[in-house]
Each structure stands twice: as C-alpha cells, then as structure tokens.
C-alpha cells in the first residue's frame, strides 16, 4: 500500500466496501463484463438479509459457470439449462432456505427453456437471475436466443436474419404471463442509478421467495464487450442504443405486495 493512502483509509472515512461474501480471488470475467457487478449485488443482498448460512445458489453453464468461486455460500453447479430444476429440488426439500439460480441467455432462454418456464409456472419459491447479453460469451461469441436482428455473431456473421435464424426471444415477457410468478423485472447495471435499481429488484425478489409468494425472474440486460468486439465503454453505449429499445427496462409484473 502506498504510504500516502495510509492516512486516508480508516474506518471513519469508509464509504464503500465489498461484501464479506465476495471471495478474495481474481475473477475470470473480461473487463467491462456485467457479471462481476451482479455477483456483488447478490452478495450484498444476502448479507443485508442475514441469509449467509441459509442460501444455496445454482450456477449455470456459460460464463458464470464458476460463480461458485466468487460468493462464499453453498452452491450447486447445474447441467446446461437445468438450474431451475435443480433449484426446485433444493427448495422443495429445504423450504426455509434462500435458493436462487444464476443463468445466462443461452442457458435460460434456449437449452433450458422448458425448465425455466415450468419452474416459474409451478410458482417455485425460487429466484432466477437472468443475465441477457445477447450472445454466447463462454463458447466464443455465437448467436444467442436473445441476439438482436442484424447483430453479428460467429454463427450469424452476416447479422441475425429472421428468415434464417428466427427472432430474438423475450423470455421475461413470457415469464410475466405465467400465474406462478410474483415478480418479473428487467434491469441493468451500466450506471450507478441502474445498479441501485437492480439491487432493489434482487432484494425484492429474494424477499418474495422467502415469503412464499412464488417465482421471481430478474433479468439484467448486460454487456459482453469481448463477444461484441467493443471496448467496455462502447459496449455500454451499444447496449443503451440497441438493447434497451428491444428489451425495455422496468417491472413487468409485481404482485409482491398482494
């Protein structure tokens, strides 16, 4: 530590710290990726709810496959797309535990569509955190179910064409129609204001699941600067200009106060 900071870093000057639940390990995420921020928010909410010893997370297949390395809680790593089924098994048999899944767009809205929709429709008291970055990050930038029309990826190098590839799916809108969901929202983490909003949403969803009100889906519209081949700053701009119009932010359904 540089000597000139020694007088500055003291308890009375502390305005921000990372959650205790964040492990002291380097993250494998690329610069500019949204995953790290969302992980931190989940850690903060679990701590604020004092659920550190009663939480089980379910990690996906995708970039967040190693989510279990970063948060100091019990985890199960699910097969690709099966996280909502795994979470169902845990929550049904440990109903007083906080059980959430953390899934990307390919995991949740493509290979795991059946598990996602049916877990939500059964009203399982679980929370699904859904990272939508419109691309397959881990496998190197292929087309996702949420890839926008015209967007170029490794498997639609000339841009997504509805005739060839079908349309981007709005799974969060589908989730909002299901009787079993109590809270469905679309958030992002590209600004301080949106980070605060996303944190409130995660907290509301976690509390609703513990109150037995049904399933919640928190979509986080996210960046993938590596997959999009943009700098982190430009990726944020691209997300605002291209993704927010198609995936508008805000609550799609909120029955948590009923």
């Amino acid at each position: 530590m540089n000597a000139e900071f020694n007088g500055i870093i003291s308890p009375e000057n502390l305005v921000y710290k990372k959650p205790e639940l964040m492990n002291e390990v380097p993250m494998h995420y690329c610069p500019g990726c949204s995953h790290g921020v969302v992980h931190k928010l989940i850690g903060e909410v679990i701590e604020e709810m004092e659920m550190e010893e009663k939480t089980v997370g379910v990690s996906p297949v995708g970039c967040a496959v190693f989510a279990y390395r970063y948060l100091d809680i019990d985890w199960q790593e699910a097969a690709h797309g099966r996280a909502p089924a795994v979470a169902t098994g845990i929550k049904r048999l440990w109903p007083d535990r906080l059980v959430f899944t953390y899934q990307g767009d390919g995991d949740l809205a493509c290979i795991g569509t059946a598990e996602t929709i049916h877990a939500l429709n059964r009203g399982e008291n679980i929370v699904i955190i859904f990272i939508n970055n419109a691309i397959y990050g881990m496998t190197g930038g292929q087309m996702a179910p949420t890839t926008l029309l015209g967007q170029k990826t490794a498997t639609c190098p000339y841009g997504r064409d509805a005739e060839l590839h079908g349309y981007p799916i709005k799974i969060t809108e589908i989730a909002a129609q299901l009787e079993g969901t109590c809270y469905v929202t679309r958030q992002s983490v590209e600004s301080v204001a949106s980070i605060r909003s996303a944190k409130r949403a995660i907290r509301k969803a976690f509390e609703a699941s513990m109150a037995g009100k049904g399933s919640s889906l928190v979509e986080i519209v996210s960046t993938c600067s590596s997959g999009w081949k943009l700098s982190p700053v430009k990726a944020n701009e691209w997300m605002k200009n291209n993704m927010f119009p198609f995936y508008p932010k805000g609550d799609l359904k909120d029955k948590t106060s009923e």
């Binding site: 939480t55 809680i73 019990d74 985890w75 199960q76 169902t88 098994g89 048999l93």
Partner: protein
C-alpha cells in the same frame, strides 16, 4: 404406524409405498408406461401430509433427474422413476450426479426399444445401466429385483448404498416386475432424517454454509486436466471398493446341476420355472441370479461355471449380460444365450428347448 404390512400389490406400487415407509424425502417423476403407478400411488397416498415426503410431477425426465440432483446434493433422500426412453433422457443428469458424487436413486421399469419401442417388458437397457450410460468414465450401482418383494426391499438398500458411496444407484426392473401383483411385506415406517442427522451424515451437502466450514459445492467441472485426472482416479478407487464389497447374487439348485442358467430380474423367475420343467425331463439345471448387475459377480460366475457342461444366459434382450458372463467364464465352459426381443417375454418351454440344444 410402526408395523410392517403384508399385502398384495404391483411392483410399481411396492416401490412407492416402501419409499414412504423408509423415510424418503422426495420423489420427482414424469409419467411413462409401464411405470406410471409409482407416481400415481404417491399422489394417491399423499405422503406430504404424513411423513412430509415431497412429490413433484416434473415437466420431463430431464427435469426429474435434475430435481433429484438438487435435492440429493442438498443431503436429502430423493429418487425418480421412469421407463427406458425416459431413462435415456436422464443420462445427462446421471452422469453429472456421478461426477459430482451425488447419491440419488433411479428406478428403470424397462420396456422394449430401441426408440419409442413398445410398452411391453424388456431387459434391453442392461448395457446402458451397467456401462454408466452417459458421458465419462463412471459407474452406477445397479440392482435387479426379481420379485415385488425385492422392489420394496431394494428401495432402502439403494439409498443406503447411494449415501454410503455418494454415488447414483439404479433399480433396473422391467415391465413384468413393475406390473405383476404379488404378496409383499412392506417395511415398518421410519421417520425422515432430521436436519441435525443430515448435517452429521452428509457434511458435504449444500444446505447453507455455516460459519465453521468452507462452502460446499456440488460440481462435476474442472478445467485443469491434471486435477480432473486426480478426481477420476478417486472415482475409480471408489468403484474398486464397490466391486470388492457390494456384489450380490443368488443361486438355486446349482449343486448337482450340469447346466447353469444365468439370468436376472424377471428372466430369472422364468428360468426357475424352466429349470423345474428341465429337471422333469432329466436335464439337471440350476440358476445363478446376479442381483447387482454392477458390480457384476464375475468371480462367483467363474467359480460356478467350473465343471459344468454349459452355461445358458437367458435375457429379455438380444444378448447383453452374456458378454459379461463370457468374460467371467473366460472359455472354461461353453456359454450360450437365449432371449426374445421387442417386448416378448420368453415362455419357459422355449428356455428348456435352448437347454436341450446345448446338450446336443
């Protein structure tokens, strides 16, 4: 409540009722003929109102096995049941359970294949069950019940083995055993394990990290191949211990037999009838019945084959276990095979004919 109960029921019903009585925590399944009575019986009996056992009809067999993954990974006694095409769908989850060392139980009430096949009984999933079935180097413990009584008895045995070794266990039944009605003695009721008992017996379970330990993580993933090899060697060592310790089999009228029939499950029941008929015709035959198909009773079959005129493997398939029997016998005695396919259950006199052919 604590009494054992003597009753007449189907094998599928016996599985369901034994599970409730053994203190099983959860069942997750999807209907398919000829095993739907398992979930139907549970739905009818409403164990969630008595023992607290959870019963969920999942959206698919893929979801069912992953619900078992979640529940068992969290230390609970959970199982699923299906029939051949549904079990094929579960292979992904079973492989992940083997990799993550999750102790669930899977019941396969086999029907004829391949593909959608037929709804009649078959034993043609032997290879799939005994070779792992999914991707990777792994084995599941496979128990083959030959009666409704064993359907009931093997539930508790399966869970005990699953948790002893942290490994998936399969009960490999078939449409005959699942559908036929027999007298059965159900076990007395036993309470489900408490949270404290699970904490003590399953320190690895993901039920919330207490301050005194590191997080528990259920995963089959490891990107460093040198670490993954160590994990695989650990699994292989476990499988070696299981092979050493858990072989189960039964013999019947083998002492003076010139011919030994090797058969499992419902084929063993047919073989017993055929052996009676053969002895009436002067052919001295006996039965060797593997109860564990994995671990396979290799040494015991090698021993029983000594000095016999022949070994006849009877299966309701095109010849699968016969390969393991040939490996065991290793040329010391002639080994033949008799089977029917496509959901046809052999008649005992067909088996006697097959024995006669071995004599000539």
């Amino acid at each position: 409540m604590a009494e054992q109960e003597v009753t007449l029921m189907k094998g599928n019903e016996a599985i369901a009722r034994a599970a409730v009585r053994c203190g099983v925590d959860g069942y997750f399944g999807y209907p398919i003929t000829p095993q739907s009575e398992v979930i139907e019986t549970l739905a009818l009996d409403k164990p969630w109102e008595t023992t607290g056992m959870v019963v969920v009809q999942a959206e698919s067999e893929v979801a069912s096995i992953n619900m078992v993954y979640g529940a068992a990974g969290a230390g609970k006694r959970a199982f699923t049941s299906s029939s051949s095409p549904g079990i094929a769908l579960m292979q992904e989850g079973i492989s992940y359970m083997a990799g993550a060392e999750i102790p669930g139980v899977v019941v396969n009430v086999q029907r004829g294949g391949p593909g959608l096949g037929t709804i009649q009984p078959s034993q043609s999933d032997y290879f799939q069950a005994t070779r792992g079935g999914g991707n990777g180097d792994y084995n599941v413990i496979v128990l083959a019940p030959a009666s409704v009584q064993e359907m009931a008895d093997f539930v508790d045995l399966s869970f005990n083995l699953a948790f002893k070794y942290r490994n998936p266990v399969m009960i490999l039944s078939d449409g005959v055993i699942g559908q036929m009605m027999e007298r059965v003695v159900l076990p007395p009721y036993r309470p489900r394990r408490t949270e404290e008992e699970i904490r003590r017996e399953c320190p690895w379970a993901t039920m919330g990290r207490t301050k005194d330990r590191r997080p528990n993580i259920m995963t089959s993933l490891e990107l460093k191949s040198e670490v993954m090899e160590v994990h695989n060697l650990h699994l292989q060592e476990k499988y070696r211990k299981i092979r050493e310790t858990e072989v189960r089999y039964d013999t019947w009228q083998c002492d003076d037999a010139d011919y030994v029939i090797v058969a499992f499950g419902s084929a063993a029941r047919l073989a017993q009838k055929a052996i009676d008929m053969a002895r009436d015709c002067g052919i001295k035959a006996g039965l060797f019945r593997p109860i564990t198909l994995w671990p396979f009773p290799t040494e015991q079959i090698a021993a029983v084959a000594q000095g016999r005129k022949g070994i006849l493997v009877v299966e309701i398939n095109a010849g699968q276990m016969v390969e393991d029997v040939r490996l065991a016998v290793n040329g010391s005695t002639p080994v033949g095979h008799f089977g029917r396919l496509g959901g046809i259950v052999p008649e005992p006199d067909e088996i006697v004919d097959a024995l006669r052919k071995m004599e000539n």
